[in-house]
């Protein structure tokens, strides 16, 4: 059987995705293997393309805030933050300093939860489920804080145009500081685990190396790039919002392998802990929102860049003076990092593929943004709910 197949297709291709236990979101990878060795890799994206860029052109400025928040399920605040910052610049509205600080506070809390989530998933891909369970247990403390602070575990909706929705009370301050102390202790422990555990290092050290030159050529972003020695972090290069008052240090490693990616992300957490303490101890006083935010925004275009947990998020917003944006372009970090996986995959074992894929912290929802539902007849209208429902009913009626 096996002989037949290899002769017929020449290449033995292992498909990973769109549905596969290694991928928590849909994407389709094809790895051509020779035995256990990967010789070629291709990717097909777009399974979670939802037409957000087009959809944004049909919604008003306020509604879009929640639309972009749903680009990503993990770093939802970052997208709303980037969008709000861009729109506020466009409208020439100055956001009160307290609101800025709270935005950055939530962004850093989100970074912690995102990095811990990634850490657990990466450990799971390596087959180290105990580390996975413990890191996710600890991540819950941050999730609880976010829930207590904003009301939701994900999609916090902390932002409104011109400020934030809620205040940080003394009670919150206390719980956050306690949680940060606990997390710092745990992170130290995890850093020790990933840099000393012999069994784990067998799966990470020297695997998937991208050196500085390759990183530049492939255009890798975020922690993945910083693990290869690329000194690029929007929070440091172009401080925005409250990062001007609360500066952050850049964490850079040079090895460029999977281990370095673990180390960079975990060390970044220490910076986040420090920043959260600093913000909480020096919280500026003042309003949470501007009095009035214009419903129409004068014509113009703006670029807004923010460092998400996965790398630089780039928004290009253009207004034509109406209630809705004329164009909203979103560039997420995963898009660039995805190409790096394909380049790094060749020459590695099949067993390393999930680790490599996860090593960039891919976020397929971020990556695919999107468009309308289409059928093969060339009718490109979006289907309404009614039509979709009717289609479902007819489909099953035919079947029975």
């Amino acid at each position: 059987m096996m002989l037949e197949m290899t002769q017929k297709e020449e290449k033995f291709i292992i498909p990973i995705g769109p549905q596969h236990p290694a991928l928590k979101e849909p994407g389709h990878f094809e790895f051509a293997v020779d035995g256990e060795l990967v010789t070629d890799a291709t990717v097909r994206l777009g399974y979670v393309h939802r037409g957000i860029e087009k959809g944004a052109e049909a919604r008003n400025w306020n509604q879009n805030l929640y639309l972009v928040e749903r680009i990503c399920g993990i770093c939802s605040h970052i997208h709303a933050f980037t969008y709000a910052r861009g729109v506020e610049r466009l409208a020439e509205v100055e956001v009160p300093p307290r609101a800025q600080a709270i935005r950055v506070l939530v962004a850093e809390l989100e970074r912690i939860h995102s990095h811990m989530l990634w850490f657990g998933v990466a450990a799971h891909e390596a087959g180290f489920d105990t580390l996975f369970m413990f890191s996710w247990r600890d991540r819950e403390t941050i999730m609880d804080i976010l829930e207590g602070l904003t009301g939701n575990r994900v999609n916090y909706s902390a932002n409104v145009l011109g400020g934030v929705k809620f205040d940080v009370t003394d009670e919150h301050r206390k719980t956050i500081l306690e949680a940060v102390d606990f997390m710092e202790k745990r992170t130290k422990h995890y850093l020790n685990v990933v840099t000393t555990d012999a069994m784990f290092l067998q799966r990470t050290r020297g695997i998937g190396v991208a050196n500085l030159q390759q990183a530049h050529r492939l255009g890798i972003l975020g922690p993945t790039a910083r693990a290869s020695g690329v000194k690029r972090d929007v929070r440091v290069d172009a401080p925005y919002s409250a990062y001007k008052q609360f500066p952050i240090k850049m964490v850079v490693e040079t090895a460029g392998d999977l281990e370095a990616r673990f180390v960079v992300r975990l060390k970044e957490l220490f910076e986040s802990y420090r920043l959260i303490r600093e913000i909480l101890n020096n919280m500026p006083e003042g309003d949470l929102q501007v009095k009035r935010f214009p419903r129409r925004i004068k014509p113009g275009e703006v670029i807004s860049r923010v460092e998400a947990p996965r790398g630089e998020v780039f928004y290009y917003i253009r207004s034509n003076g109406g209630e809705m944006p004329e164009r909203l372009k979103v560039r997420t970090p995963t898009m660039m990092n995805m190409a790096s996986v394909l380049a790094m995959a060749v020459g590695h074992q099949l067993a390393d593929m999930p680790m490599l894929l996860v090593g960039i912290d891919p976020c397929f929802s971020c990556n695919d943004r999107g468009v309308a539902i289409c059928n093969s007849k060339g009718d490109h209208d979006q289907w309404t709910w009614e039509r979709l429902r009717q289609h479902g009913i007819d489909f099953y009626a035919e079947k029975v």
Binding site: Y66, T130, G148, L149, N155, S157, N192, D197
Partner: protein, 139 residues
């Protein structure tokens, strides 16, 4: 290079309370800021419809019965709601609130998700006029 670096965690957790709970039998209390089911107060509403305009999910409909007498009915499509609380921000007369208790909102049909708010007489009139959903919740 060490082995079994997680040893202390593994042994220690036998003496710790498990981090997980058996959900339907044991519930973790929701925080007070939780955004649950929307609640609307018809007395303060001026019918400006900003909530409905800013709702990203099209979940709110304000039905005007008599604009001068300030008689309005809100139809709330809970199945579309994303619980983002923009309506609370948009409302200048703070007639909208979100419950922190009603959040286990699941049902096997869509009927309980069509909620209408308003004064009783307004609701009756709206029901006659616009044929609202069958289940009507009164304030």
């Amino acid at each position: 290079m060490k082995i079994a670096t997680m040893f202390s965690d593994v042994v220690g957790s036998f003496w710790k309370k498990p981090a997980t709970v058996q959900y339907p039998f044991e519930r973790v209390e929701a925080p007070t800021r939780l955004r649950g089911k929307l609640e609307w107060d018809p007395e303060k509403c001026t019918g400006c419809s900003l909530c409905s305009k800013d709702c990203p999910a099209d979940a709110i409909e304000i039905i005007t019965i008599d604009k001068k007498a300030k008689r309005f009915v809100m139809q709330y499509h809970m199945d579309r709601c994303t619980y983002c609380a923009q309506c609370i921000e948009s409302c200048r007369f703070s007639c909208i609130e979100m419950s922190d208790e009603q959040w286990e909102l699941a049902a096997t049909s869509k009927v309980p998700f069509e909620v209408s708010y308003g004064r009783e007489e307004d609701l009756a009139e709206a029901l006659a006029k616009f044929a609202l959903a069958d289940t009507v919740e009164t304030e």
